[in-house]
Amino acid sequence: MSDRKSDKKIVVDGVTKSFGALPVIGGVSFDVRDGEFVAIVGPSGCGKSTLLNVIAGFERPDRGAVKIDGVKHVGPSPKGIVISQHGSVFPWLTVQQNLMFGLNGASLAHKAALADRYTDMVGLKGFEAAYPHELSGGMLKRVELARALVVKPEILYMDEPFSALDALMSLRMQKELRRILGEERHTVLLITHDVEEAIYLADRVLVLSPRPATIQTTLHVNLPHPRKLSSPEAQSLREAILKELGL
């Protein structure tokens, strides 16, 4: 919570979305400040991913609008990169080529150097020339993260980014993400069903209702990093969120 600015990075204003006769999002409004980390938790199938798709510009809302930096945005852009559960690292490109994919302009040598710097940052030094099928699931996630970070996005949209990993690797990646956010400032919107992940990472947790999704509660996580999930404060937050989810 190193945030002093009051400017709103993302404004979600009365967004609704239906698929045919099925209402998925039933009027969601919230703001995300610049540099803030907001987690959205909700029961599975509640429309979390659809909400993220709308905010990231991959789907249009039926009603309402999404504004990024005060500008109503219409489509996906490198300003906000999506990291999803199943990942989208290109299997036909090496780690380095994947990282260079989204870079344009600069000379090839410059791009390669930048790619290598971020490969190093996510702990994959030495794997620049490896193909994705030669890497493990955890390493692939690091590639995906590095590929997103290298284009210097202002926003990271994360849709259950670590849920396909085993529990241990998931925890390790959460820690890693927190470290990177200490080095580079990003606004992050995280969709998750992992309550502890939300508490560990986020400044604010929005709890969604079952479909059609609306914001049921907002909870602030005013704990310093690195957080201990075993602390009484974290535990009581966890209880509160689980209670909101009906557990």
Binding site: A56, F58, G75, P76, S77, P78, I81, V82, S84, H86, G87, S88, F90, P91, W92, L93, F101, G102, N104, G123, L124, K125, Y131, P132, H133, E134, L135, S136, G138, M139, V151, M169, R172, K175, E176, R179, E183
Partner: protein
């Protein structure tokens, strides 16, 4: 940052299929697995030749040759150089016909896969042309191109263009959406999207199409050469029969056709080893 460096040491253990690990126990074990791969099929062939030999000698057939007669007959052709010429003629026709088909099928397939309108407009036509046997085209080929080299080349083209096109189209249409979304997210140009995402994503499918295409092309060249012309392995078969029932040469040609077909497929399969398509064949 230095504290974090320690944490990365742990990551080294995540490496599962590094090249070193995959190949460490290779030399000796590899030899034996290689052996078990080659020996059984070879045995089947040897057995078949033995049965053939026994049956022909027992039945005293005046026309059907023994394996030895086939080999000596083929050796004659090798020595006077005609076999080489026939093989060369057939391969050249396949090369040109298949090459032209490739040049037409790949761009057209990519276009039909990418542009919905093109697919809806052209696909019904191609699906209708596709099941027509290349043999059915022979009269028209002769009418249009005469009895020279052009007719078989046309027939090879017709027969191999559709499988390659269909495969390419299907490949584009089944590209995993998440890759296209990622490309859209990074805001790359259409050219980069096509060159860095679409083409490499479809490449494994194109290679499958090429394998089918080469197989059909080889099948068809022999059939086409039986009609007319004065060269090629198909011509050799018909000519051997017509010129005094030389069934030893008929069978020799058949075996050579089979072997070359195998080699052509093997050569095409080498493409599967390209680094950029390996992702499709592992796991």
């Amino acid at each position: 940052m230095n504290d974090d460096a320690k944490e990365f040491v742990l990551i080294a253990d995540e490496r599962i299929p590094t090249r070193e690990r995959m190949y460490t126990s290779r030399p000796l074990a590899g030899f034996f697995t290689g052996l078990t791969r080659v020996v059984p099929p070879l045995l089947v062939i040897v057995l078949l030749i033995a049965i053939w030999w026994i049956v022909v000698t027992k039945s005293d057939s005046p026309i059907f040759p023994t394996p030895l007669q086939v080999v000596t007959g083929a050796w004659e052709l090798v020595q006077d150089g005609t076999l080489g010429q026939h093989i060369e003629a057939s391969l050249l026709r396949v090369g040109i016909g298949f090459g032209l088909a490739f040049l037409v099928a790949i761009p057209l397939g990519l276009w039909m896969g990418w542009v919905g309108g093109a697919f809806r407009t052209l696909n019904p036509l191609f699906q209708m042309l596709r099941p027509i046997s290349p043999i059915a085209w022979i009269p028209i080929a002769i009418l249009w191109f005469g009895v020279g080299d052009l007719s078989p080349i046309f027939l090879i083209f017709i027969s191999s263009v559709f499988p390659m096109m269909v495969q390419t189209t299907a490949g584009v249409r089944t590209i995993d959406r998440r890759y296209l979304r990622a490309a859209a997210n990074f805001g790359v140009s259409r050219w980069v999207l096509f060159r860095r995402v679409v083409i490499p994503a479809v490449l494994p499918e194109i290679i499958v199409g090429m394998r089918i295409g080469v197989g059909v092309a080889w099948l068809v060249v022999v059939a086409a050469e039986m009609i007319a012309l004065h060269s090629g392995l198909g011509y050799l078969i018909m000519d051997s029969r017509n010129a005094g029932n030389r069934y030893d040469l008929v069978i020799a040609s058949m075996i050579i056709i089979g072997v070359i077909g195998l080699l052509l497929d093997g050569t095409t399969r080498l493409l599967e080893r390209l680094k950029t398509v390996k992702w499709r064949y592992v796991r």
